[in-house]
């Protein structure tokens, strides 16, 4: 198990190194390199950022400055379960803010392992399926014209699939 984990980490590092070599440390490739790093590790840890800074010969402050500027880059590990409510205009007009309140009140409210699984609840600017609002993304499942029951069902289903 541990050996597996280590070899997995090594292969991720290899991917990152490959991206660094591909851009030959050109400073304008920083955003691209950060994308690769996040793809491999799920987020950008301090160690990852320092490593990139050293390899690209950029000040760590510059690398951190760029990474923290863009909302897409995560500086902390991603949550295990995530419910994202679209807050784009089209979804908003179709009641996404009310839905958000309901989801916060009725979904994943409990951390009791016997109950509905807990999840991080957040909003996104636009999930790009504007014709079918309100849209909710539960991990990788996209729910159209969603309501609270749909979200709970999707969470339960995913829990079942995982176990």
């Amino acid at each position: 198990m541990n050996a597996d984990h280590n070899s997995e980490q090594r292969s991720r590092h290899k991917q990152l190194d490959r991206a660094l070599t591909r851009h030959q440390g050109a400073p304008d490739a920083l955003v691209e390199v950060l994308h690769t790093a996040q793809q491999q590790f799920g987020y950008l840890s301090k160690e990852t950022l320092s490593y990139i800074a050293a390899q690209m010969q950029l000040p760590p402050s510059h690398v951190y400055g760029v990474a923290s500027y863009y909302p897409f880059f995560r500086l902390t590990p991603p949550p295990e379960r995530e419910v994202t409510i679209c807050a784009g205009t089209a979804c908003y007009v179709n009641g996404s803010s009310r839905l958000e309140k309901e989801i916060r009140a009725h979904c994943c409210a409990t951390k009791d392992p016997n109950d509905t699984p807990a999840a991080d609840i957040g909003t996104a600017r636009c999930l790009g399926a504007c014709g079918n609002g309100p849209i909710v993304r539960v991990n990788n499942d996209v729910l159209l014209r969603a309501n609270v029951d749909d979200v709970n069902a999707a969470l339960a289903q995913q829990e079942e699939d995982a176990s």
């Binding site: 760029v66 500027y69 863009y70 089209a90 007009v93 179709n94 014709g131 159209l144």
Partner: protein
Amino acid sequence: MTIEELYGIGEEFRNKLGTFRAEIQVCGGGGCLAAGADDLLKNFDSACRQHGLENKVRVVATGCMGLCGAGPLVRVTLNDVMYTRVTPDDVAGIVEDYSRKLKRYKERLLPGDFAFYGKQSPVVLEHMGHIDPWSIEDYIAHSGYEALAKSVTYHNPESVILEIRNSGLRGRGGGGYPTGLKWDIVRRGPAGNKYIVCNADEGDPGSFMDRAMLQGNPHSILEGMAIAGYAVGAQQGYIYVRGEYTRAIECMRHAIEEAERMRLLGNRIFESGFNFHVDLRVGAGAFVCGEETALLRSIEGLRGQPRPRPPFPSQSGLWGKPTVVNNVETIVNVAPIVLRGARWFSGVGTKGSTGTKVIALTGRVNNTGLVEVPMGTTLRTIVEDIGGGIVNDGICKAVQSGGPSGGCIPAKHLDVSYDFDSLSSVGSMMGSGGLVVMDDTTCMVDMACYFMDFCRSESCGKCIPCRVGTVQMHRLLDKIRRGSARESDIETLEELCVMIKDTSLCGLGQSSPNPVISILHYFRKEVEQHVFEHSCPAGVCSFEDADPASIAPPTSSEDISHA
């Protein structure tokens, strides 16, 4: 690759398509994918196999077919019929119907005269939803890369620019700047490296046309960029795609590889001296990067913050070199103009706004999705005919065009035509083409607050009017919504609108007060009702901070149910 070889590839693929009796096309647009189009594709595949049709019917995933609200969509080319909201249970019926020529399966069949499609005239979206975006041959078979071939073989760069100038094409990303003029400036700029940048950082909530084009017809973007490169003398292009669009990025990457493999990108394109390479750059979630100077900085690997203009990117852009920054839709318009001529293009639309416009029609209308209409079509046609009217037979209250930079147009102005100048004359703008329809369940104060919340959180923080002003405006609007505002707050709001508009650094800040200005202008009574009577006609606002003694019971606030 020569022009003859190109025609040969197209011919060959058309012949191959000719061996099929029909195609079953499954929409692969964002909405339909989310509604289960991927599974449907597999179901159709196996159903056709079951009936022994695998050599007679081509099952293919296409780009967006437009009617996103009724997905997943399926088209059968034999009788040119479309089915909406198709479920796996319908697959057997549709295939059976086809294989025995029964024409009996009427479930989910879209009426042939459906106004949503009848009133459109697609140019940019012409092949999207009909061709396989993952196949370069399919694009070539639909006269793809022909415009590029003709440009580099028969025309000199100046005449390509002249054609674009004469067509009257204006930037589709919001600015409306004449494209030909922009190209001309870059062409005349100092010799040396020049760049073509395709702005696909679609950030306006409520817009999804760029995404649809990226994953529905990626080669049309590459071809347009290459023609632009030839015209202005650039050898390198960048496509800056929004990071959230994973599938679009994959599709675009694949398209670039295919085009390079066929030597339609790279060195000596069509055996000429013209070289052009395209790289993909992935954005990272900053809305302000849709602003061209911020976008260029982001490509340079820096924090995507805007800088003052002039100098404009056409004079000093990427790494200080002359750079064309064009929106996706603008670029896709290029090839049809080269093929069919400037006169044809300028014959469509109005005098000041030629051609067509792709609109993302969303909100409280029956038919939502991507539509393309000639410029000058009235809002009424778009909302009532194409959109099929308001849901639940409701009444249209306003339409919001142009995203967070645009304005709300009240229903009394629905006869305004959809073009650059008419929309500005009623205090809105075209923006990238988002059109959100609102009915009487939408509160305009709440809407203004929503847009200001957006601008506030997307402000990059570089200039003070935008960074601080948007926060202050949001606070005031929230006060109105919560019932603790006074008359003077409306005045302050108005002052702030002017201040932010006049003094912000970039387009994001300058245009951020637009929704509020239009709402204060057209819906002042509604705003005042909130302030003085603590009543919200739409029943959205809760007035939780209002003094209970003075609060008037909100009219019909009991949970407006949304369908």
